[in-house]
Amino acid sequence: MVDLDYLKKSPWEKFVFGLKGFFKGIPAGLKGFFVGIWLKICGLGKSIANAGKEVYDAAKNGDWKTRMSFAVMGFGQLARGQILRGLLYLIFEIVFILYLALFGWKYLVKLGSLGEVAMVEVENEITGVVEYQYFDNSLLILLYSIISIFFIIAFVYVWYYNVKGNKASQDIVETFGKLPTAKDDIKAYADSQYHKTLLAMPMLGVLVFTIFPIIFMIFIAFTNYDSLHTPPSQLFTWVGGENFVTLFGLSGKYGSKFFVTFGDLLLWTIIWAFFATFSNYILGMIVAIMINSKKVKLKKLWRTILVMTIAVPQFISLLLMSQMLSENGVINNLLLEWGWISQAIPFFTDGTLAKVMVIVVNIWIGIPFTMLIVTGILMNIPEDLYESARIDGAGPVRAYFKITLPYMLHVTTPYLISQFVGNLNNFNVIFLLTAGAPLTSDYQYAGKTDLLITWLYKLTFTNNEYGLAAVISILMFVITAVISLIVYRRSNSVKNEEDFM
């Protein structure tokens, strides 16, 4: 389609066109996702090959000190007088060997089976009481094995770094004759190596609390860890892709019900994220425009009133709202008292109404955020744009659709994307408002307003379906990644197409 045709379309047609483009983008997005993963793997392969070359070069052209450090890490540094560096390498090697030999090894060998015997009942011969003796704990085996694998990878990396560093210092000695001292090394961490100083702790935190747990859960997705296989009294073991098969309803204990639940909740999660994001965005913008209008005085007062919902901790607002809108809550009572209704409105007990209500309450919570963000940007729109629109005879509504909205969309696309992704995983609003209610027998362990994330919560902590929950988490990642990729690409193309002003 030519750009000119697009511009001639009505806003509704443009919207439909955009929507079509989104769905057309799905295959490309999926492709982009897997191609991205593939490219990353290729990149990794390349750098490993490069590292191999460097090691080979060090072995071929290195002197005896460098070659010695292949076996004894830090040897070259120690021999060349870089005591601190050398000692750190050496200590690392010793710790690694001790860890693996004394501790890591005995778990690593059981990784294949995840344990043979969990628990033995022993009758105490003297008292006659049955006692339990615990042996293999699948969870511990998996956990320590993954730690060991991490450690081994880290060791290989440090070892490579050690060899490379040795070769480098050998070259420096040959050309300059002098190496940096320990003092120089430490000083460098405040200057040329400053990023390492700053990022060491933060990255360690991310490694331990995000990367490691995610990898752990990816492993769990291939086990049968559930309520019937709970360590320490029971073992769980590898089951391959069985959880994926169960999820898609092909077999397993839940039959097709599980897949129906997954599909419906996925659809509702996307609908919810769409409406929650755009209702807040558009209504918040309208409120901001009203307050910004020249005709309105006491701007600060209106803003302060709205901002109350941000200042008060969100869980309080949400719990309060869920109480007020309940069957015998204050809203129903007041409406009954005034005679506006003859029986209580089932705000959170009727499936469809509950879905509408969570979006409405979310508007109540979300408008102030949009208002704050939008207010600053609104003031940046050049006044003469509106002036010329007025001269051309455009009313405020037209000016909104022709000037305000396109400008705002152009500037706030990244915000919208992050809001959308955040809403896909919006636990608080749903869980504290309805906790997924009303429950239905059509779904496995889920209610009508449950999002995938609150369903995960229930699957994990109420029903102990750890393996299945991990599978769903992985799928949610794929879905989020693909959606973000498509939206990101499209917003980029839109930006290039009609760069605003």
């Binding site: 609390f209 990367i211 600053g376 636990f427 988490s473």
Partner: protein, 293 residues
């Protein structure tokens, strides 16, 4: 406004303008009522005497401070403990998280090194996994090392991945002209000195924003705390979010609803005051961070 089309033509411009402003004021008043009503109701209920469950009438028949006193005297609910727990965690989280976020943002914004792009991509990808996924694993791990049901465990979980919230702060650092750094470097300053002596003093707004959001988050957080506290005995190490939600469960609500309201007011007041005092920085932070690509 439906019959206005014809009349408008005859009216003077001034009248039309007055009508719009009246309409605007009416709409804004309605909005304000909707927005304030829940909080008004909350305060009203927290001061209600008599029966302490949910009642059918709206306006309290008698007013009392009894609910606030019950918060701290009732043996069933260690509200003082919950409050202290939350305060303690909030302060600890604020200190650590602010340092981590500012350090990460500075490194990613103003230093140039090989893995910079890679780290940002990694954070982006990690952010697409449901946060709940890593939580489950952390729960297992904390349980194995005996830290579940423990405040320290909760603290670790809150601060563990705080580096990933670098985005807004980095956006701020990006706007400071690089010429400043260059000038300082020519004068012989190290990167560390540039950070401490030049950039940090310029970054007061974003640091206050980071502190404010870090401090406020633990007060309203429910998902992570409820997981970590799954293994706790009793309710002593709960935070306020968990404690107050407990009061709304069926076994408590009939006797504790007004106490819940009092607790909610008691939690909200300091946070609300803090927020309004520092609101300027908050607005600067979110508006700055949301528009950059």
């Amino acid at each position: 406004m439906n019959k206005s089309a014809k009349q408008k033509h005859y009216r003077s411009k001034k009248v039309a303008e007055r009508t719009t402003s009246v309409v605007l004021y009416v709409i804004l008043t309605v909005i304000s009522v909707i927005w304030l009503f829940p909080f008004f109701y909350l305060v009203l209920q927290s001061l209600r005497g008599g029966e302490s469950g949910i009642v059918r009438y709206f306006w309290p028949k008698e007013f009392t401070f009894n609910n606030y006193i019950r918060l701290f005297t009732d043996e069933q609910i260690p509200f003082g403990k919950w409050y202290l727990n939350t305060l303690l965690i909030s302060i600890a989280v604020t200190v650590v998280q602010t340092i981590v976020v500012v350090a990460t943002s500075y490194a990613l914004s103003r230093l140039r090194f090989k893995l910079r792009k890679g780290i940002m991509q990694l954070f982006l990808i990690l952010g697409m996994f449901p946060g709940f996924m890593s939580m489950t694993a952390i729960y297992f791990i904390l349980k194995l090392i005996g830290l579940s049901g423990n405040l320290f465990g909760l603290f670790l979980v809150y601060v563990g991945s705080s580096a990933m919230g670098y985005y807004i702060c980095k956006g701020f650092f990006d706007t400071i002209p690089l010429a400043l750094d260059e000038a300082a470097k020519i004068d012989g300053a190290t990167r560390h000195q540039v950070f401490i002596k030049i950039i940090l003093p310029l970054s007061k707004p974003i640091i206050i924003y980071t502190i404010l959001t870090a401090f406020m988050a633990p007060w309203g957080e429910y998902m992570f705390s409820s997981l970590i506290m799954l293994g706790s005995n009793g309710t002593d190490s709960y935070n306020v979010a968990m404690g107050l939600r407990l009061l709304l469960q069926t076994e408590y609500i009939s006797d504790y609803f007004t106490v819940f309201c009092a607790g909610a007011v008691f939690v909200s007041i300091p946070i609300t005051i803090l927020f309004f005092v520092l609101q300027r920085y908050y607005v600067e932070g979110i508006t700055g961070g949301s528009v950059k690509g």
